[in-house]
């Protein structure tokens, strides 16, 4: 690409009339399943943020008999094993699930980009050391390790977020490193190196912005897997007892699978729909950010 532009004089004005973000957005809109995913996701975020104000039943309050079936007594989704309103629990649980998912994903993306970019930029002992650390975290059984951290340091939201983020960054690190290894050999990097750019400038301003597309896609998918991770921990009983989350609703009602399956079905459905919507958005971003790499 750089070679071509040095051989042929390209009229850059042709490309300037559209903002690159608009172009990505236009590509994205062509993908119907990705648009559907985005709409569903926005709806879920909207319900989780605004819902508690509109449907103001306290999710912890016992409002009626346990296991009232959906639709009876005016409870749209019924009540749980303590007679608490399931719809209120799901509406309130969304906020916590989404917040933990996003912040844990953010943490893992920050760790992953740091380790991936350093190990891709430098060679020698730094690369060796960071690669070994990455391999170590790949061997570690992630869920068990997070369970240990939460069990030892207490089930509060910050600990849970940390426990998820600290074990989930290896995929981001691998992708970042692969991009850095590719880009650091390109001509424009050599060019800025030759005019005396320092390492930190090369990493942050020259290479990283060009490595971002696949990292953005991976970061989106990370939110989905962090939500699944949080749900798993809560399902096992390792959730903050002061807040409601979708996994915790399922964990609380776990013993009643055979008697009253619906209490377990709806919260699981909420997790499933959210992660599915995020995956669709991730796939859509992948196609619109890398139109050339579109899969067969």
């Amino acid at each position: 690409m750089t070679k071509q532009s040095s051989l042929f004089k390209v009229d850059h004005e042709d490309f300037r009339d559209e903002n690159p973000f608009m172009e990505i957005f236009r590509m994205y809109l062509k993908n119907y399943s990705a648009v559907l995913g985005l709409l569903v996701l926005l709806l879920i975020v909207f319900i989780s943020l605004i819902g508690p104000f509109i449907y103001s039943v306290d999710p912890f309050e016992m409002v009626w008999l346990p296991f009232t079936h959906p639709g009876e007594q005016g409870f749209i989704l019924g009540t749980d094993y303590l007679g608490r309103d399931l719809l209120a629990q799901i509406i309130h649980g969304g906020k916590v699930t989404l917040a933990v998912g996003c912040s844990a994903a953010l943490l893992s993306v920050v760790i992953g980009i740091t380790i991936g970019s350093l190990s891709g930029f430098y060679s020698g002992w730094i690369e060796e050391l960071l690669m070994r650390i990455t391999e170590f975290f790949q061997v570690l059984p992630t869920l068990l390790f997070s369970m240990v951290i939460v069990a030892l340091f207490g089930a509060s939201l910050p600990v849970i977020t940390f426990a998820i983020g600290i074990v989930s960054w290896t995929a981001v690190a691998r992708i970042t490193r692969a991009e850095f290894l590719r880009i650091r050999e390109l001509e424009y990097v050599t060019a800025s190196r030759s005019v005396g750019a320092r390492d930190i400038y090369l990493i942050m301003r020259v290479i990283l912005p060009n490595a971002l597309p696949p990292i953005v896609v991976q970061a989106t998918l990370m939110v989905g897997s962090a939500i699944l991770f949080e749900a798993g921990l809560s399902f096992l009983g390792l959730s903050d007892p002061n807040v409601m989350s979708w996994g915790a609703i399922m964990g609380n009602n776990r013993q009643y699978i055979l008697q009253e399956g619906f209490v377990l079905m709806y919260p699981g459905m909420a997790i499933f729909m959210t992660v599915l919507a995020i995956s669709l958005v991730g796939d859509g971003l992948n196609d619109s950010l890398n139109p050339k790499l579109r899969k067969r």
Partner: protein, 326 residues
């Protein structure tokens, strides 16, 4: 010869990884609030300062930290992972007792996921625009997005409650004494739902991978040669192409092993499967630290061994990389 030295190098690296897990375990144990003396004091219903000191001295907690670390490592080297106060049994015995059930679940789920995944992937690759191909794409999305414990619960509701074909959980039916073949059949009957559940996360992954690598291989020269020789389509696909298309699947099977163990913890909990996962959850709720850390170490060990085995399997399938380094 080089095969052996490479394998030794891998083993050495695995040992180093496990050593790091142990050191991490040790520091987690020390960073966590409360120690053995506190646990015993709470169990005994209270103890004075003097008695607490005596207990700490008994367990070597008054020694400098590096000395404690060395002692811990020396104990683990002879497979002594400590004593579980909750179960009143040594942690090693406890883990060895539960390990077979977990291995049975994990291995059967992996085999099921790989078989179904590869078959779907190959069918999809032979007709990239066909219905199976779209099915694989949808399956990949659903398999990734559904929480595995929810999948398990839905299967229980469908196949144990509405249609009572399979038991709702456990390793075997304890109400009837069975021996030999009948016992084996009973365990297999109990295994069906848990292994399908655990496999459901990974079928999609393998089928997508098998589809992509099969498409690559089917376009290569040697496949065209095989076709030109007049071999049947079936022989070309399943004898010539499949062997090469399997390579990425084998690599992936090794890479996701720690993920399989994580999934197994959740699946075991849903199906009350008496393996390491349910043990870990019980130990955590009972604050039984030696058992928790013992399981963490042991499952890392299983992952390292699985990685070594896939690495060797890979070299056996593909003679080209048998001797080259990485």
């Amino acid at each position: 010869m080089q095969f052996i030295s490479l394998t030794l190098k891998r083993v050495g690296f695995g040992v180093v990884l496990l050593l790091i897990v142990l050191i991490l375990n040790f520091f987690l144990m020390h960073l966590a609030p409360g120690d053995i003396a506190d646990t015993i004091a709470i169990d005994a219903g209270g103890a004075d300062e003097e008695m607490m000191d005596a207990i700490r001295k008994d367990y070597g907690l008054d020694l400098p930290i590096w000395e404690q670390l060395l002692k811990y490592l020396a104990k683990v080297a002879v497979l002594d992972l400590g004593y579980s106060f909750y179960y009143n049994i040594s942690v090693t015995d406890l883990i060895l007792e539960r390990l077979p059930a977990t291995l049975l679940l994990v291995i059967s789920a992996q085999l099921l996921a790989i078989t179904v995944g590869v078959v779907l992937g190959v069918i999809a690759a032979r007709n990239p625009q066909g219905i199976t191909s779209h099915f694989v794409t949808v399956l990949a999305l659903v398999g990734y997005s559904a929480p595995v414990f929810w999948t398990g619960i839905m299967l229980i509701i469908l196949f144990s409650s509405i249609l009572p074909i399979f038991p709702i959980g456990g390793l075997m039916d304890v109400s009837i004494e069975r021996e030999g073949f009948a016992k084996m059949l009973d365990i297999l009957h109990h295994l069906v739902l848990p292994s399908i559940t655990l496999a459901s996360i990974f079928v999609a992954l393998y089928s997508r991978l098998a589809r992509a690598s099969m498409l690559d291989v089917l376009g290569s020269d040697y496949v065209r040669t095989a076709k030109a020789k007049g071999l049947s389509e079936f022989l070309v696909v399943y004898k010539h192409a499949l062997r090469n298309a399997l390579l990425p699947v084998v690599t992936m099977a090794g890479m996701v092993f720690s993920g399989v163990i994580s999934g197994a913890v959740l699946v075991e909990t849903v199906f009350s499967w008496p393996g390491l996962g349910t043990l870990a959850v019980q130990a955590i709720l009972a604050r039984d630290t030696p058992t928790i850390l013992g399981i963490l170490f042991f499952s890392s060990f299983v992952v390292v061994v699985a990685n070594l085995l896939t690495d060797m399997l890979y070299r056996i399938i593909d003679p080209r990389i048998r001797t080259s380094n990485d």
